[in-house]
């Protein structure tokens, strides 16, 4: 950190939208925490940094932490006249509460954010609040109102940072699809994706791609769905967007189910359910009902024994392993052959490959196998020499192809 902590905080705050644009905000969480450490609680710079920290945590699917940062701004603003960071914090908190299923609190925050934003003339806060209210109407089944609010948000253009202005396409795509207007939703999604690509806006691309995959699947365009899914998974890994990664893995299960691969579908859905349980994430009731029916059909297609094995396999996967599996399943063309030389691996080396695929670090592997971290490194070097697998993701893929994870 620079010798001047106040300058570091101003610099980090000024870089926030660029980090969002390039999909880097989640990865800058620790740096933002350091920059905020010496700031006076409740000061302007501190409040702005709390917004960035909250969004960074939200991208990483750490909703409790995100909620804490946004609430900190609301608490700090309790006895003060409204200001921009407060409207953003309220609107951002409303979105997190929506994802957590706390819809009444979300609607209350969104309405307050909209009133304050209009009172002080804050277009960014107004846009975000309208987006929240659009989702509120959507969840309540008032699709006409949801679309109207999304379009109203899209008309606010002046003085809005690009990544924020472009979320309107994402909101509109979702609410149009939920309203059953799939053709218009596809148009909004394609326009949004083109805008995001032109701007090099990775955050909006990673948010929009799952919505486009959803539309592809609903229209039976499985080839397009696989291509969009693959692009979205790569971007979600690159930007650390764990929520979108989970969505992508879940959608890969949908794609497998739609293309007659019931075993793979059950494995991927079980992997998502395990992560959801572990991280306390919830899905809307309508989604749970649809998923239960999909699982029932896949189990019927497979039979009880194979279905149980497929689900146990998924439940044991880490998020990274499930993501690598989904990438393998969406590869274009015929399945790739195993890495050359993998047949020469010893039983001990396969054991290491499996542990790497389970997400263990070298230090964790050393502790588990009662060997030194240096010996682990030597083993991995030999494995890499034999198989040509340079990255840990390649080793994960090797283990997946061998059915070891």
């Amino acid at each position: 950190m620079t010798h001047d902590p106040a300058l570091a905080l101003r610099l980090a705050n000024a870089l926030g939208w660029w980090w969002v644009l390039r999909g880097r905000l989640a990865g800058e969480y620790r740096l933002l925490c350091q920059a905020t450490g010496g700031a006076e609680v409740g000061s302007g710079g501190w409040c702005t940094a709390q917004i960035w920290l909250g969004w960074a945590a939200q991208f990483s699917a750490d909703l409790a932490t995100a909620l804490g940062h946004f609430t900190a701004v609301c608490d700090a603003a309790a006895d003060r006249p409204p200001f921009r960071a407060l409207t953003l914090a309220l609107a951002a908190r409303a979105r997190v509460l929506q994802i957590m299923g706390r819809t009444a609190e979300a609607a209350s925050d969104a309405r307050r954010a909209l009133a304050l934003a209009r009172q002080i003339g804050d277009p960014a806060g107004e846009l975000l609040a309208l987006a929240d209210l659009s989702f509120d109407a959507d969840y309540a089944g008032d699709h006409h109102e949801a679309v109207r609010l999304a379009r109203q948000a899209g008309q606010i253009a002046a003085g809005i940072p690009g990544p924020l202005a472009r979320i309107c396409n994402w909101v509109l795509t979702i609410v149009l699809a939920d309203a059953g207007d799939l053709a218009e939703a596809a148009r909004a999604g394609a326009a949004g994706l083109a805008r995001a690509r032109d701007a090099g806006d990775l955050s909006n691309q990673v948010a929009l791609l799952p919505r486009i995959v959803d539309l592809d699947l609903r229209a039976g365009r499985t080839g397009d769905a696989a291509a969009h899914l693959r692009e979205g998974l790569h971007l979600a890994v690159r930007t650390g967007s764990r929520l979108e990664l989970l969505t992508g893995i879940s959608q890969c299960g949908d794609l497998c189910a739609a293309t007659g691969r019931a075993s793979e579908a059950l494995t991927l859905w079980a992997a998502c359910a395990a992560v959801d349980r572990h991280e306390g994430l919830t899905e809307p009731p309508w989604f749970e009902l649809r998923r239960e029916e999909q699982i029932r059909q896949a189990r019927l297609a497979l039979g009880p024994g194979p279905a149980r094995a497929a689900e146990d396999r998924g439940a044991a996967m880490s998020l990274a392993t499930a993501a690598e599996y989904a990438l393998m399943l969406t590869e274009p063309g015929p399945p790739q052959p195993s890495a050359p030389g993998s047949g020469q691996l010893s039983a001990r080396e396969w054991e290491l490959v499996t542990l790497v695929a389970q997400g263990r670090t070298n230090a964790q592997i050393a502790a588990q196998l009662y060997i030194s971290a240096r010996t682990v490194g030597s083993h991995l070097d030999r494995i890499r020499d034999k198989t040509g697998c340079r990255r840990r993701a390649d080793l994960t893929r090797l283990a997946l192809a061998a059915g070891l994870v």
Partner: protein, 67 residues
């Protein structure tokens, strides 16, 4: 190559006893760039602003890391 030059320059400023002044000047420069670029992110200058910050990434990292 740019990192090598950066390290070489940092070494020279330390040898001359000017590292604090150089660090403060660099930090001021970084903040100026970041603020100007942030001001362009709401309009037609967004693409140029993002590319400017991409080009200054190493400088931003150096200032934020306090090296």
């Amino acid at each position: 190559m740019l990192e090598t030059l950066r390290a070489y320059g940092a070494g020279l400023s330390v040898a001359a006893g000017e590292q604090d002044g150089a660090a403060a000047a660099l930090a001021g420069y970084a903040l100026g760039v970041a603020r100007q670029a942030a001001g362009l992110q709401s309009g037609d200058g967004e693409l140029a602003a993002a590319r400017w910050l991409d080009a200054e990434d190493a400088t931003m990292r150096q200032v934020l890391a306090g090296r």
